[in-house]
Amino acid sequence: MTDQSDAPKVSSLADLFAVAYQIEVDAVERYTMLAGQMESHNNPELAAVFRDLARAEGIHAGEIRRWAGDMDVAAHAQQVAKWKKNESPESADLDAVHYLMTRSEALQMALAGEERALAYFRHVLASVTDPAVKELAKRLVEEETEHVELCQRLIRKYQEPAGKPAPDDPDPAISQG
């Protein structure tokens, strides 16, 4: 199990809803940002991939909101959903992007995010005792497992054929200042 000392402690249903919601919201923001980066660096294919991911995460966020019923998950998230050092698990690693990255590489990033989220919820499931919270944690683990599998399928679908050379930019860097 990965080190979860950085992650927020969850002790109630409200907490877990809030954290799960924030994870998805952060992911939407991150993928939207990456879509913007790819757009301004003239890689429309990758921009489309990130926009699709953002849309998907938005749907997940909406689902969690619905499950939470009357709870104001957004407000509560501002209080409890804090990671001490790193970012929330589905926030794609900004360092892992490159303007020449391929679709598979982007999806690998998404997969890594889903796997981190899965590890977190597994940790929550293992550490909480409240039955209602445990129930929700179980549901979240199932959800994330599905997301992981989806990513893996997409990666297989978009896998670049073996022997294809990595993308290369023959133009040199431009001095801008």
Binding site: Q37, N86, A173, G177
Partner: protein, 277 residues
């Protein structure tokens, strides 16, 4: 830092709609996140904040925020910020710079800003290279790093900007790593809240000219000792640190320089009296 108007703000309230031109993978995207999160944490209205920069990739940051900003000329962000802060002590003034802008051409102003100890926060995004002009060494570049202007490396020992800041009188010295977004945000909050001149050096990798800096995320580690308020002890720590200690390293208690401005005024005619025959 100034009296706060506590308003509930999200980090996105501090971001403008202008898309950054930084290369995807640039550490500065993280720093922008950390900065906007820090400002949200402080809860100051965006119009009470000014982000002042010089020239360089990191200096593009003011336009990406929703605050007041000034993208000045190379190396002169600190005096710009100084003038603004002296006449507008009510504004929270943040200076964003890079290792070239801040330590090379801006070196003299760096010394004197630390010495002057106005209520300013300087955030230097250090990537040990000149990114915007395609990869020349900066004062913090390793001596053996090969570049077009210094084939085989410059052969010069890099600066230790944290030691220089401490020696020059900075009241708060910290190092952060762009990859640790939340931690960097906390350090920035701490820096802004701390009175006097606060200096935060953020190691922020350059994906295009320093792909080797991908290794930084495995090299940074928490500072082995807590922040001290003793400059001599801090100096010893800083002189012996490996360049990857992350955290607040020095928290001083110098009185900040707060020149009086905008107070009550005498009649202009009073000023003439000394000339009267």
């Amino acid at each position: 830092m100034n009296a706060e108007l506590k308003v509930a703000h999200k980090a996105s309230d501090y971001k403008s709609d202008i898309a950054p031109i930084w290369c995807p993978g640039c550490g500065d995207y993280h720093v922008l996140l950390s900065l906007t999160r820090a400002l949200a944490e402080l809860g100051l209205p965006p119009e009470q904040i000014a982000v002042i920069s010089g020239i360089g990739c990191s200096s593009r940051i003011p336009a990406y925020t929703n605050c007041y900003g000034f993208h000045g000329v190379h190396g002169r962000a600190l005096p710009l910020a100084t003038g603004l802060k002296v006449v507008r002590p009510d504004q929270t003034v943040i200076v964003t710079s890079g290792d070239g802008d801040g330590y090379s051409i801006g070196g003299n102003h760096f010394l004197h800003a630390c010495r002057r100890n106005l209520d300013l926060t300087l955030i230097v995004m250090d990537n040990h290279i000149y990114g915007m002009t395609k990869g020349q060494p900066s004062p913090t570049t390793e001596p053996d790093f090969d570049t077009a202007l210094t084939p085989g490396g410059s052969g010069l020992r890099p600066f230790n900007p944290l030691v220089i800041a401490l020696a020059s009188g900075a009241n708060f010295v910290a190092r952060a790593f762009s990859g640790n977004v939340s931690e960097t945000a906390s350090i920035i909050v701490d820096a802004i809240r701390h009175p006097g001149f606060s200096f935060v050096e953020v190691l922020s990798p350059c994906v295009t000219f320093r792909p080797d800096q991908k290794a930084w995320k495995n090299q940074v580690h928490p500072a082995p000792v807590a922040a001290t308020d003793d400059p001599a002890r801090a100096a010893r720590h800083l002189m012996s640190d490996d360049g990857f200690n992350v955290g607040v390293l020095y928290r001083g208690d110098r009185q900040p320089y707060r020149p009086s401005f905008g107070g009550t005024t005498c009649d202009l005619a009073e000023l003439e009296k000394e000339f009267e025959i």
